[in-house]
């Protein structure tokens, strides 16, 4: 085995961490000693390279999702039948034309059944910034038709990531799909968190019989295979509901199944903190219980909760795709990554139109980014503690 990098030895725990932190964050010991906890976490987080990459990626993704109409070259409903399964078109550049692609005409070869696209070399679809195209509502409020980048003339087609089976632009669909896929995780986790905080908090703070009962309930939830729970609950969503309520309901279902692990974490942390000296000291001082909880205990585990949450979001995103695969999640014409992937789930796509698997790349990016951030947060969550956990 190669000589491993030695972790720095810490002769004295208390002084050591401050010194450690100072070296680690590249700031003076005085800064470190006087900095707020939030600041310390941030300093430390910034040192975590993968986490920073993840954070940047996430921010970018959420910005794109929020302004989907602006970033997507087309709306999800415009299509061009003859361009079904059009492969991705890489923009070309010339001095006279600027960025452009050639428009194509498509037909299906009756012998091979393969779609054939013939570019018209004499014509150009000019690609420009801030062009007029399909109209949309920015943030659901402002009606506009300005798109960041796309064909300069409205009505012209361009397929940066290829076209789907109806001849709609895949990139636009991925961008619009992120709205549902990226938010389903947040909403779901928010609900899980609420349940987890409430029940885990009760369980951890009161202990005893309450704790025992809640632990059994959690055990119960965890011992039932998730698949039948999904199937049963998803199938019981009233069918007359529209896509949005159904989507919310599915989120709730996902989070109803997700709260158990969160509750366990919170309970564990609470049990640990409850025995800390400073809590004991506060109790002896006669500080009221609510004040102990909110002033002393909650801040102590907020960072951990944030870390756990950021690790729970990607699980939700994956669950959404799995539900779609099982035919229980959203279905087209709704657009989400799960729906797009379900459409891509066949032999023909893999063999002849592999670009339709690109929504999978979006899922991977989002999930990995969340995990990096979560990991980084967990590592930096407890600035005075050991540097590892």
């Amino acid at each position: 085995m190669v000589q491993p990098q030695l972790p720095q030895a810490t002769p004295d725990d208390e002084a050591g961490t401050t010194a450690d932190l100072a070296t680690e964050t590249g700031r003076s010991s005085r800064d470190v000693a006087s900095a707020s906890q939030r600041r310390l976490i941030w300093w430390r987080f910034r040192k975590h390279r993968l986490a920073m990459v993840g954070l940047v990626l996430l921010v970018a993704m959420y910005v794109v999702a929020a302004f989907a109409g602006f970033f997507a070259p087309f709306s999800t409903t415009t299509y061009s039948g003859e361009h079904a399964y059009h492969p991705p078109q890489v923009p070309r550049f010339s001095l006279q034309e600027g960025l452009f692609v050639h428009p194509t005409t498509g037909h299906t070869d009756p012998e091979t059944l393969a779609p054939v696209f013939t570019p018209d070399e004499s014509e150009h679809v000019h690609l420009r910034f801030f062009v007029h195209g399909d109209s949309y509502r920015l943030l659901g409020l402002v009606e506009t038709d300005i798109h960041l980048f796309g064909p300069s003339e409205p009505g012209e087609r361009w397929y940066p990531l290829g076209a789907d089976r109806t001849g709609a632009d895949l990139l636009s669909k991925i961008i619009y799909g992120s709205q549902i896929s990226l938010s389903i995780g947040l909403v779901g986790v928010a609900i899980s968190l609420l349940l987890g905080l409430l029940l885990g908090g009760i369980s951890g703070y009161f202990g005893g019989t309450v704790d025992a009962v809640l632990q059994r309930v959690i055990e119960l939830f965890m011992s039932i295979p998730t698949l039948p729970l999904w199937l049963g609950l998803a199938a019981s969503v009233p069918p007359q509901w529209g896509p949005v309520p159904t989507y919310l309901m599915i989120t709730v279902i996902l989070s109803l199944l997700g709260w158990t692990s969160l509750a366990r974490v919170i309970r564990g942390r609470l049990l640990q903190i409850r025995d800390e000296d400073y809590v004991l000291a506060a109790t002896l001082d006669g500080v009221p219980t609510t004040r102990i909880i909110f002033r002393h205990m909650v801040p102590a585990f907020t960072s951990h909760i944030i870390a756990t949450v950021s690790l729970a979001v990607p699980a939700m995103i994956l669950s959404e795709t799995a539900l779609s695969f099982l035919g229980l999640g959203l279905r087209s014409p709704a657009v989400s990554w799960g729906v797009l992937l379900q459409d891509a789930q066949n032999v023909n796509v893999i063999a002849t139109a592999p670009w339709l698997l690109l929504p999978g790349v979006a899922v991977v990016l989002a999930v990995v980014a969340f995990n990096f951030v979560g990991d980084g947060l967990r590592d930096s969550a407890d600035p005075y503690g050991k540097r590892s956990t």
Partner: protein
């Protein structure tokens, strides 16, 4: 210890009862029943069933009865006679259907588990002793990517690769010529030729979590004073790690092995469905979809019971190892 064991057993019994009720309740949640599903699937094939005949069949199957009547009929037969009822879909006793698939399910689950650990534990250890190195980052990235790829997609993609580049006959766990053949070396080889896709897909997805935990546990241990002492004594680094921190870091995995039981059954469902493996996953999915309630209920119940029992054993193990648990501290 005896008192603790009895105490835990008393906890298990109400859990089991609750699980059986929930299992039975879940499978009845979706609208319609087995017969309407049957009609629907017949129609999809361009066939139809007489509505009048249907009503009579419904009475025969006892489908219209109230929940508690059906539940009692079901659970009393299981407890008193070990009879899980009849699968509507297959028209065969549920017990037989499950047991003939249990072997492969466990084989797939265990192979996956072993592979997951075989990859994740060393990766986690390396990550820890080389914290913040290129190796650490690479392992993190790969682990998370494996976790993030939707497994139905991975299964189909690997199946396609198997077809395109190796001419492999996709789907099932055996090539046609070995399906009904008696066991032989060739048949085992054929089995492994098919098993690798699901095993790789499921196992890789599971590594990320274990890598993270191992890494964290290892880092905890590496900072403990006894490691410093050992180092000061001049023990070789490899020996230090193997002898002490590694063992302690692995402790929780060993004592919580029982909690992995639902994973064995849960992890494979989607992949096994895509690849049409003869395991309980697709059986359960099919049963749930066609609302074959005794079959679905039977599988859920068995998995749930195994999990509860597994957790119970894990708890006993933990209690045996760590006396604090016995006195309700942890």
């Amino acid at each position: 210890m005896l008192r603790f064991t009895i105490h835990r057993i008393l906890h298990v019994i109400p859990t089991l009862i609750a699980i059986s009720i929930i299992s039975f309740f879940i499978i009845q949640l979706p609208p319609g029943d087995f017969l309407t599903t049957q009609i629907a699937s017949l129609e999809a094939q361009g066939e139809s069933l007489d509505p009048a005949q249907l009503e009579a069949l419904r009475v025969r199957y006892g489908i219209g009865e109230p929940f508690w009547v059906q539940y009692w009929k079901w659970i009393s037969n299981i407890v008193l006679h070990g009879d899980f009822g009849l699968s509507f879909q297959y028209q065969r006793p549920v017990g037989g259907l499950i047991s003939e698939r249990l072997g492969l399910t466990v084989l797939l689950g265990l192979t996956t588990l072993v592979l997951t650990w075989a990859i994740a534990l060393p990766a986690g250890v390396i990550s820890a002793i080389r914290q913040h190195s290129a190796a650490d980052y690479t392992i993190s990235v790969l682990g998370f990517v494996a976790l993030a790829v939707p497994n139905f997609l991975a299964a189909l993609a690997l199946a396609y690769i198997g077809f395109r580049f190796f001419g492999q006959s996709v789907g099932g766990l055996f090539s046609p010529e070995y399906v009904n053949a008696p066991w032989s070396l060739d048949r085992v080889l054929d089995l492994f030729g098919h098993l690798w896709i699901p095993v790789v897909v499921i196992a890789l997805a599971g590594t990320a979590g274990i890598i993270r935990t191992t890494r964290a546990n290892m880092l905890d241990e590496l900072h403990k004073p006894y490691v410093t002492t050992a180092r000061a004594k001049g023990l070789p680094e490899g020996r230090i790690i193997r002898k002490y921190p590694l063992r302690i870091a692995l402790n929780p995995f060993v004592s919580t092995a029982g909690w992995n039981i639902p994973q064995i059954f849960d992890g494979e469902v989607i992949v096994a469905t895509v690849l049409a493996l003869g395991t309980t996953g697709p059986l359960l999915l099919g049963a749930l979809r066609s609302q074959d309630m005794y079959l679905a209920g039977g599988i859920i119940l068995i998995v749930a019971v195994l999990t509860v029992v597994g957790t119970f054993i894990s708890d006993l193990l933990l209690a045996a190892v760590d006396p604090r648990v016995r006195f309700g501290k942890a």
